[in-house]
């Protein structure tokens, strides 16, 4: 009833190829967009911005980047954290060397550097596959974090070895650094995430996306029908690392404000990989669902006991939190091994038939 598709006729090719051929999908997205762009900024507290909205969006973007590589092109990567670091350090160097640069442009450009690094570390993918490739990207992870520690030029020879985000403004409005308001940072993150998500949806539907999927499903067959594997794999590495790098720049510039090299270490890579897997490999929306579950939910769970008036120790809450989120991950993967995105697809299909199933 709510999701009835009957009566929605497509009379042209353009209509048939629209981004959201089902009207309800478009309406749903419009509602979500309205919440994200208008309602949340109006009602959210600083805590909600800093602890839930901004990190969920940034982690969604990082997972989206990884999903392009792992979910769409089938190349397993464990180096996401380090590629995020490349983006963050590149952005830091750009804004400190060229203080006149528009910070948003710097954030978008920083992805170019991580894309370059990603392509270099993607070259082994032409010869090795699967777990072996994962090990090669793991090498990237270790090497890059080591480089962030040892190469003092990267952090401007700071005694502490950490990077600190300076106060940067666009037309007098602070957009990064401690002087920036949370709502400004949120809008920047939202703008970048929306832009890149839109690009990715179209990319994965288009020629390039189909090439990636063919490579993922069977590379020999793909080669036989004339797909250039080298191009396919390296573009996947480049675009994926670009998005991951931008996410890394946002992670430091629009959220944390300071970072030492070890925040880009392997736990970050795993966190992003879990988001992509639980959200659903080879999906766009899954990244957002996964980030809500892995990044947003623990924050909400932490608040629950106090809101309900249950006196619990902070450490106890943390322990419970880890157990609950852990079991939820296992639960969702048992119920739907293809991730939250597949779960949503199932629900949607049922809704289309509801309330008159066959």
């Amino acid at each position: 009833m709510l999701y009835r598709t009957a009566g929605q006729f497509k009379t042209s090719y353009a209509a048939d190829q629209a981004l959201f051929p089902v009207r309800q999908d478009a309406v749903l997205l419009a509602v979500i967009a309205a919440f994200a762009w208008v309602i949340f900024p109006l009602i959210a507290s600083e805590f909600t911005f800093q602890a839930i909205l901004i990190p969920v969006l940034i982690f969604s973007l990082a997972a989206l980047g990884l999903n392009i590589l792992t979910g769409f092109a089938g190349q397993l990567s464990l180096g996401t954290g380090a590629f995020m670091g490349v983006g963050a350090y590149a952005c830091y160097k750009m804004v400190t060397l060229m203080p006149w640069m528009n910070p948003i442009v710097a954030i978008l450009l920083s992805g170019v550097f991580s894309a370059g690094v990603g392509v270099v570390f993607g070259i082994p993918s032409l010869r090795i596959k699967g777990f072996y490739l994962a090990i090669a990207t793991l090498a990237a992870q270790f090497f890059l974090v080591w480089l962030f520690e040892k190469w003092a030029w990267l952090y401007n020879n700071n005694a502490s070895g950490a990077i600190q985000v300076p106060n940067l403004d666009i037309f007098g409005l602070y957009v990064t650094g401690p002087q920036a308001a949370s709502v400004t940072e949120y809008y920047i993150v939202l703008f970048v995430v929306s832009l890149l998500t839109y690009l990715c949806i179209n990319l994965t539907r288009g020629n390039l996306g189909r090439t990636w999927k063919a490579t993922r499903d069977m590379d020999i067959a793909a080669e036989l029908i004339g797909i250039n594997l080298m191009r396919s794999k390296l573009t996947a590495f480049a675009i994926s690392s670009y998005i991951v790098g931008v996410a890394g720049a946002l992670y430091v510039f629009a959220w944390k404000g300071a970072a030492e090299p070890n925040v880009f270490d392997i736990p970050l890579s795993f966190q992003v990989l879990f988001i992509a897997i639980i959200g659903g490999l080879g999906s766009i929306m899954g990244n957002f669902l996964g980030a809500i579950l892995i990044v947003g939910l623990p924050v909400v769970l932490n608040l629950l006991p106090a809101a309900l008036g249950i006196p619990l120790d902070s450490a106890m809450i943390e322990h419970l939190n880890i157990m609950i989120v852990g079991s939820l991950i296992v639960f969702f993967l048992i119920v739907e091994p293809h991730g939250l995105n597949a779960l949503w697809r199932l629900i949607r299909e049922k809704l289309i038939l509801w309330p008159f199933p066959h």
């Binding site: 602890a51 300076p166 030492e260 120790d313 902070s314 450490a315």
Partner: protein, 430 residues
């Protein structure tokens, strides 16, 4: 349904009372870490902090008649959780106690905007001593640069350092690199050779490569900036490679009883500089036992309470309580604001008399803070492991702060410049 209404009512009542309670308490949240890889060193500190404040609540009815709420927010030492906790608590909090250099680095620039004091006793950024630049940050009673200076002073007392070789074994992290500027300065002045050996976060438990290098280099002394699992790793490795323990000195965070108990007698002679000392006979310990431990409100145990870290937690909370008291007296109000607490923390005067009035006899050296000096430079004692516990191996020492005062000003200036616009408190004298 009836049941549900009751529940809802109860929730509302709880909410209202909680709201009322917020107005009449000193909310001093602690970003604790009782979980994660550093929990072993975090727990005794957090217990000491909480027990002291709970004792004040039980014995005196809080500070100045207003109860203290030492709520903890668990970070697990993760900087991401640190942001979450800071944002969650900053609305009502009088103070931020970040408890990790990473979280301090993130929170420090925000303090000028949010106007909440950071209390980072004995850790964080050493130039925070410059109260003009770092108006909101306090690393009372001593900073890492003080520690470096005192360690070198102590070693000098053992014989001329000219031509000696000193290894600085440190965690490869902002924390471990912190004393390097002063150590380099001292190396130049005293003519010893400084050799920094970093230990990566992943190598903390297995330092065989570092200790192989130490064996090859044959240094006269090893000083250590270690934390968490790194301390136990270094100490066991030093015992294994038969490094003379009496030539091995750690910073105050590397003097945890449990790490030394692992090696027991073999660790005899290991030293650690410290601005706190456990005194089981101090009146404050008796009060804590009476009001908190016997009432079953403590999470600690006998063994832990005898240790260096538990007593350091007590001292930290005592410093905070002194700041609150000073602010209450100055402004003539029991319920103070974060801005007033800042004044209080800038005007702590811990004289010998005051220390024994507080019942902290022998647990902390006297010190005083001012608007321009946010550290107080209490100095400290060299502690030595005698095989079963830490004992004092020196008289009260003080750091030669004048030697690196210029360095403090220089680094503080650099920080302010990198974070421009950064307001500087020109009202301070000196």
């Amino acid at each position: 349904m009836k049941h549900f209404t009751k529940l809802a009512l109860a929730a509302i009542v709880a909410g209202v009372t909680a709201g009322a309670a917020v107005a009449q308490e000193h909310y001093v949240p602690n970003l604790s870490y009782r979980t994660g890889p550093f929990a072993a060193t975090g727990i005794p500190l957090m217990n000491g902090q909480a027990d002291y404040l709970n004792m004040l609540n039980a014995r005196d009815g809080g500070i100045g008649g207003v109860m203290v709420n030492p709520e903890e927010c668990e970070t697990g030492y993760s900087t991401e959780k640190g942001v979450e906790c800071y944002e969650k608590t900053k609305g009502a909090a009088l103070v931020t106690q970040p408890w990790s250099t990473g979280i301090t680095l993130q929170v420090l620039p925000k303090t000028n905007v949010d106007e909440i004091p950071i209390l980072a006793p004995g850790y964080g950024f050493s130039p925070m001593m410059d109260g003009k630049t770092f108006q909101w940050a306090f690393n009372t009673p001593a900073g890492y640069w003080d520690a470096a200076d005192m360690i070198i002073q102590y070693l000098e007392g053992q014989g001329d350092l000219n031509g000696k070789k000193i290894v600085h074994l440190h965690l490869d992290h902002p924390f471990g690199k912190e004393p390097l500027p002063v150590l380099e300065l001292l190396a130049e002045q005293k003519g010893f050779e400084l050799l920094p050996i970093p230990v990566g976060l992943k190598e903390m438990q297995n330092q065989s490569a570092q200790w192989l290098q130490i064996r090859r280099e044959r240094p006269d002394y090893v000083i250590m900036w270690g934390w968490g699992a790194m301390n136990a790793g270094a100490i066991t490795e030093a015992v294994k490679t038969k490094f003379p323990m009496e030539n091995f000195i750690g910073v105050w965070w590397a003097g945890h009883d449990a790490d030394l108990k692992l090696v027991g007698e073999d660790g005899k002679g290991y030293k650690s500089i410290s601005w706190s000392f456990p005194n089981a006979d101090a009146p404050v310990m008796a009060d804590i036992r009476k009001h908190v431990v016997d009432a079953g409100k403590s999470k600690s145990n006998e063994e832990e309470m005898a240790g260096v870290f538990y007593s350091r937690g007590i001292v930290i909370s005592a410093i905070l309580a002194e700041g609150i008291r000073a602010a209450q007296e100055e402004y003539g109000t029991a319920e103070i604001t974060p801005q007033q607490l800042r004044w209080g923390l800038e005007n702590i005067n811990m004289t010998e008399a005051r220390i024994s009035e507080l019942g902290l006899d022998g647990m902390v050296p006297p010190f005083a803070t001012s608007c321009a000096d946010h550290t107080g430079n209490s100095g400290g004692w060299m502690l030595e492991w005698d095989g079963s516990q830490f004992v004092k191996a020196s008289d009260h020492m003080t750091a030669n702060v004048d030697n690196y005062r210029d360095l403090v000003a220089e680094k503080a200036g650099e920080y302010a410049q990198a974070n421009a616009p950064w307001p500087v408190n020109e009202a301070c004298e000196g």
